[in-house]
């Protein structure tokens, strides 16, 4: 019984990780239609930002502060990834709107450059980020059923990110401008919206979200130059399955792929589980090519 309960928890936890990793892509790929192969590298940048914040805390601040470094690491990851995303948009992406194949090639090149850059700065071996003490251990439902605090914390982070995105996209003036530009660029521009600026900010925001995902991933996995490559296929799959352009779709896609992965892995093994998930997703897309949440109208969301 415990095994199955734990398996359900694992499924939700893996879903939350997929969602967090895919939220940024839902914006850069989903809304802006850029096939951003460097998305994984922004996750990696976020992870290294957390590493730097950790080192700063352990070297320059009293030891009692160390446990709170993670609260500084989250905004630092967001800002660093966001600023680099903004630079990338200004230098490369803005020349490539509407040319998805070119953007795929260019961002793939950028991803290799960023990986090698990380290798030059931080060295080739993986680095270690120590989790704060209060995240170690597990919530004991009863012996045999332990829910790791880290995974619970990541679920909270996903919920917080979603709330922020929801308010930003659907309840703020800025979100209205973004959606206007993405839906009809010429019309938005003629109404006085600075579309270039909106593009840059939106891309930076999406990249920043990837940075937050990277920060969260330091709790669970490795921090190395190729960290992002492990997530890039899954995150694209989540966005495509959910329906390109729909934030709700990304959430649903992340949930389906996450729980599907863990359930099938439990019943078969990790390799076959992944194969089955991908096969099911491909079959599903044959039936509904636009994903779970299809957008019929000219409006992109809801």
């Amino acid at each position: 019984m415990d095994t199955y309960l734990l398996q359900i928890f694992n499924g939700i936890s893996v879903s939350s990780i997929f969602m967090l990793a895919a939220l940024g892509l839902a914006i850069t790929f989903g809304l802006m239609k850029i096939i951003n192969m460097a998305h994984g590298e922004f996750i990696m940048i976020g992870a290294y930002a957390a590493y730097m914040v950790q080192n700063f805390f352990s070297q320059y601040l009293p030891a009692s502060f160390f446990n709170f470094y993670f609260f500084a690491a989250i905004p630092a990851s967001f800002l660093l990834a966001g600023v680099l995303g903004w630079i990338l948009e200004r230098l490369v992406i803005r020349h490539l709107y509407g040319r998805s194949l070119d953007s795929l090639l260019a961002t793939w090149g950028v991803s290799l450059i960023l990986q090698q850059l990380a290798r030059s700065i931080f060295g080739a071996p993986n680095v270690d980020v120590k989790s704060p003490d209060w995240l170690n251990g597990a919530f004991l439902v009863h012996p045999g059923l332990q829910l790791p605090y880290k995974r619970l914390f990541i679920m909270l982070m996903v919920i917080a990110c979603m709330v922020v995105i929801y308010y930003l996209m659907y309840r703020s003036n800025y979100g209205r401008k973004i959606r206007a530009v993405m839906q009809n660029r010429a019309m938005a521009a003629s109404l006085g919206i600075n579309t270039r600026r909106i593009d840059a900010y939106t891309f930076a925001f999406g990249s920043g979200l990837a940075g937050i995902a990277g920060c969260a991933l330091t709790l669970l996995g490795s921090i190395g130059p190729t960290l992002g490559t492990n997530y890039i296929v899954d995150t694209f799959m989540v966005v495509v399955l959910g329906g390109v352009g729909s934030l709700w779709g990304t959430i649903a896609g992340g949930f389906l792929i996450g729980t599907g992965n863990t359930t099938l892995e439990f019943l078969t093994d990790a390799t076959l589980g992944k194969v089955l998930v991908f096969t099911l997703v491909i079959l599903f897309l044959q039936w509904r090519p636009k994903g779970l949440f299809t957008i019929h109208s000219r409006s992109l969301d809801e």
Partner: protein, 417 residues
């Protein structure tokens, strides 16, 4: 042994190549001083002997291979400082295998045919070695391969300075059976090394009264082990034998600890985690767990004290040495000694001279076994310490004869094919 290339890279070979060109061009522009540029002349100059260094300096495997390359460069500089070989300086020609077996084969061909190197030191993954093997055989070149691997191979043109299975996996299983319990759970990355290693382990367990209660493989780069940890919890094994590779180890050990499983509840024994990897996993996540190798940074020999001091002085106090780093360092010295003995860099003469050649290595004296060109090595089981170092808990009294095909084990009949 380790392999780490992406299948998705294969699909878009042209994209990969283009992007690689762009990034490598950019990097060489950045002045990466340790990568010496190969010259165009392609002939041996009067006072230098060219040798090839062929490792992944970019891509996923760079994590492991860069420090191995560093060890080889250090050995070359040390030998040069003492006057070189045959009165000539050794001149390294470095090439980047880019974590792609096809690139390894291409660069090996370039090193042998264009640069006319006397030997190549290189490779890490079994896939890259298997790709370079036909190239060195058809060009009658030499490759010194520094990493433990799955065995079942003995090329006349390759010297293997890492462990054969009977110098790492087999004695580890034997020791675990005697000291930790009979029920084994096997977990590995899904490619040739773990699958071959587990075939050997299963045959050995069956012959010696052990039991396999689970066997799981995960794709390279797998990052979520919650489900497998759940399966392990259910099976309650005495030992988890771990042949996971690369980043996956970090995820596995971090998540194992979070699930509330410590080395007191469940002992793991890993064969692909050395000091370098422990740093990335975090010593706090795997203190008390076991590993099996032939060398640790803490190995107590006078040669090792110098080796560790020099390596740290050269590359930084925060760097660590480990088994493949040491094996790569030995390879350069063994080749140089064979060349001195042969009085020539001619491959056939060097191979002849290398037979039974001994070297006082940091791990203790190693000897080249003429029959299969592997090394006699001591086997050491170690325990990861909270400071990231590995403490030897058991070792064979003497170096073990290499037996890549496990011919001396009855239960291994039928494995080598």
């Amino acid at each position: 042994m380790k392999i780490n290339f992406f299948s998705k890279m294969k699909k878009s070979a042209t994209i990969t190549m283009t992007a690689l060109f762009v990034s490598s061009a950019l990097l060489s522009g950045c002045g990466n001083s340790q990568v010496s540029q190969s010259s165009d002349t392609g002939t041996d100059s009067k006072d230098a002997i060219k040798v090839g260094i062929l490792h992944s300096l970019s891509g996923t495997m760079a994590i492991s291979e860069v420090s191995v390359k560093d060890a080889e460069m250090m050995a070359i500089d040390e030998i040069n400082a003492k006057g070189g070989v045959l009165g000539k300086k050794i001149e390294p020609v470095t090439e980047d295998g880019a974590s792609d077996p096809a690139v390894f084969a291409e660069k090996a061909k370039k090193l042998l045919q264009q640069d006319k190197v006397a030997t190549i030191f290189g490779c890490w993954t079994s896939a890259s070695r298997k790709a370079v093997l036909p190239v060195v055989e058809s060009n009658n070149g030499l490759l010194w391969y520094p990493v433990q691997y799955e065995g079942m191979e003995s090329s006349p043109n390759i010297f293997y300075t890492g462990a054969a299975p009977n110098q790492q996996i087999v004695p580890a299983v034997d020791w675990l059976l005697k000291n930790k319990g009979k029920k084994f759970f096997l977990i590995g990355s899904d490619y040739v090394f773990p699958r071959t290693a587990n075939k050997i382990i299963k045959a050995e367990l069956q012959a010696e009264g052990g039991q396999v209660v689970g066997e799981e493989y995960t794709p390279m780069g797998h990052t979520d082990y919650s489900t497998i940890i759940n399966k392990i919890k259910e099976e309650k094994p005495d030992v988890v034998f771990n042949t996971l590779n690369g980043d996956s180890n970090v995820a596995f050990f971090k998540q194992l600890k979070d699930a509330g499983i410590t080395e007191k509840d469940l002992i793991t024994c890993s064969v692909s985690i050395a000091e370098e990897e422990v740093r990335g996993i975090g010593a706090e996540n795997m203190a008390g767990q076991l590993v099996s190798w032939n060398y640790y940074q803490t190995t107590d020999t006078p040669e090792n004290k110098d080796f560790v001091t020099n390596y740290k002085a050269r590359y930084g106090q925060d760097r660590v040495t480990d088994d493949p780093i040491e094996a790569a360092y030995d390879a350069v010295y063994l080749w140089a000694a064979a060349v001195e003995k042969a009085g020539s860099t001619d491959v056939d003469k060097v191979k002849e001279a290398a037979k039974d050649l001994e070297f006082k290595a940091p791990e203790g004296t190693v000897k080249i076994e003429g029959e299969n060109q592997h090394l006699w090595k001591k086997v050491r089981i170690g325990e990861v310490q909270p400071d990231g170092m590995i403490k030897e808990v058991w070792s064979t009294p003497d170096p073990i004869r290499p037996d890549p095909f496990l011919k001396t084990y009855d239960w291994a009949k039928g494995l080598a094919n």
